[in-house]
């Protein structure tokens, strides 16, 4: 292999350029906007809001500190996403180190190329959420575990659990591997104990979201979808996704047939956490979350690359995967769907042409979060609807982040004019659709704000009298 390809600094430089390019482009999408709104609160409110949501608080706490350290504005997307870029570069470096400790010798540059160009890696390096940090912590735990330095591995296992609940699956896997190697479990026991203070909150969160979370019951297709997301990211067109659904399992099966039979550690790393997540989803409630498997992406790449021992095999798979990655990285920057939102464009028809200072009453948490974040000057209220649909924030989180919700009748008493803004999407309950139909009978103006495949957003001006 050429000397330049063996130099990690070169890969880091390319990775940095790819991750910096357009890092601040676009508005935050819903989940990012939620994170941004949360870290803008004072610390106590932030923890209260998170206690009603579905994630632990470590990454939010770091970003809370980052926002105050930079003294910046939370709506400065590029600056806020920057720490995730650094975490992602850290993951590239650690994956390189792990690969360098294994044979064959070209494995490390193969991994470096994968981590640099994988659209999933670029996506999460540029997304204001916890996944880049989560992957870094996982790789750090794996690296120290492989080195036999269990205290450090346990430390990173603990941070993993405080960053994302899938850290529990990875920590359990780590403990299983430690037992398998007949090493002491004590450092990991401390990791588990360190997480204990949050367990009560976790339990409460799981009860809050039960039956009200967007994840659907597990289907074999979800496994393939997950493989696509953690390797190729989100920038695929639907057609490429169909092809990738055959290509990825095919590549994996080839890797399994040609696996290194003496060293099955990495296969274990892939199988145990995914089996646990699958079992929990079947036995208890759906928890299979594709993003939660992102940390396994470098491990997946390693078992695949290790199986490409013959030169012509490397040429065959390398050509297919290389062309696919080049195409998808291109599509990522064109923005087929790279996780950015056009929130500002979405609300423009109302805010720019029709709004004269009236309050907005919203049925959707997504719009409410976006408005609070980008337009705090608009008096926006969450209207009380018949049911909280899946994917929406719990009432605990809403109570921490939003002004007191308002009833439609109360709004009629309180204001002469107000805008009712409704987001129609697949999870909208039927009773809410009926409520909207009834409420909008007294509307004097209707504005269409946006339309997408399975939904639309409209605003109605409600005035007292005709």
């Amino acid at each position: 292999m050429k000397a330049w390809a063996q130099d990690i600094r070169l890969w880091m430089l390319i990775a940095l350029a790819l991750r910096l390019f357009r890092i601040g482009a676009g508005d935050y999408w819903y989940d990012e906007a939620f994170a941004a709104l949360v870290v803008r609160q004072d610390f106590r409110t932030m923890i209260l809001a998170l206690a009603g949501d579905v994630h632990p608080p470590l990454w939010y706490t770091l970003m809370w500190g980052w926002l105050r350290f930079t003294g910046g504005e939370v709506v400065h997307e590029g600056l806020m996403r920057l720490p995730n870029l650094v975490f992602s570069l850290g993951s590239l470096y650690l994956a390189w180190r792990i690969a360098a400790s294994r044979s064959p010798s070209w494995l490390k540059w193969g991994i470096a190329a994968w981590m640099t160009f994988s659209p999933a890696q670029i996506h999460y390096a540029q997304e204001f959420r916890m996944y880049a940090l989560f992957e870094l912590e996982f790789l750090a735990a794996l690296w120290f575990f492989l080195q036999g330095r269990d205290r450090w591995a346990a430390f990173f296992a603990a941070t993993m659990m405080w960053t994302h609940y899938y850290g529990l699956f990875y920590t359990a896997t780590l403990m299983f591997m430690v037992m398998w190697k007949r090493r002491s479990l004590w450092p990991y026991a401390w990791a588990v104990v360190s997480f204990a203070p949050w367990v009560a909150v976790l339990w409460a969160q799981m009860n809050i979201i039960e039956g009200n979370y967007w994840i659907q019951p597990l289907h074999p297709g979800d496994l393939i979808y997950t493989l696509i997301i953690i390797t190729l990211g989100w920038s695929l067109t639907e057609w490429i996704r169909v092809i990738a659904a055959a290509l990825i399992p095919g590549t994996l099966i080839y890797a399994f047939i040609h696996r290194n039979r003496k060293e099955m550690t990495f296969w274990t790393w892939l199988l145990i956490p995914s089996t646990m997540a699958g079992l929990v989803s079947i036995v208890w409630q759906p928890v299979w979350l594709h993003r939660g498997f992102l940390p396994l992406s470098p491990v997946l790449a390693m078992v695949v690359l290790e199986s490409w021992r013959k030169r012509d095999v490397r040429l065959f798979f390398g050509t297919i995967w290389g062309s696919l990655l080049a195409l998808l990285v291109g599509l990522y920057y064109v923005g087929y769907w790279n996780g950015r939102s056009d929130f500002s464009l979405w609300i423009a028809p109302l805010i720019e042409d029709n709004w004269e200072g009236e309050p907005w009453l919203l049925t959707s948490d997504g719009l409410m979060v976006g408005l609070q974040l980008y337009h705090p000057e608009i008096p926006a209220y969450r209207i009380i609807t018949c049911k909280n649909p899946p994917g929406y924030l719990s009432w605990i989180t809403k109570a921490a982040l939003f002004p007191k919700p308002i009833d439609f009748e109360m709004a009629l008493d309180k204001w002469e004019r107000f805008w009712l803004v409704h987001d129609r999407f697949p999870f909208t309950p039927k009773c809410e659709a009926q409520q909207i139909e009834k409420w909008t009978e007294m509307a004097t103006r209707e504005i269409s704000m946006g339309k997408h495949k399975l939904g639309w957003t409209k605003a109605w001006l409600i005035t007292e009298g005709p």
Binding site: Q216, H219, P220, G221, D222, L223, I224, Y225, I228, E238, W239, R241, V242, I243, A245, A246, L247, I248, P249, G250, T251, I253, Y254, I257, H258, R424, F425, P426, F427, T428, P429, K430, A433, L454, G455
Partner: protein, 66 residues
């Protein structure tokens, strides 16, 4: 749920079915290619034809909803 919900669930179901079918094709291809004994390589030819038909069907099925 509103009518869009049923449409959404149906789409999700279709996506999962197509991904499963394509996944099966992807999984069986290297198995047939790598593990079949040399004298049974004609099975590989038959399998490739089946896989191609499966892929065309998947594209047709998925394409209706796009």
């Amino acid at each position: 749920m509103v009518p869009e919900y049923l449409q959404f669930l149906q789409r999700l179901q279709e996506r999962n079915e197509v991904l499963t079918l394509m996944g099966l094709i992807g999984v069986l291809h290297p198995i047939a290619y790598e593990l079949l004994p040399r004298r049974m390589k004609h099975v590989m030819v038959i399998w490739t034809i089946v896989a191609l038909i499966g892929t065309i069907l998947a594209f047709w099925y998925y394409g209706r909803g796009l």
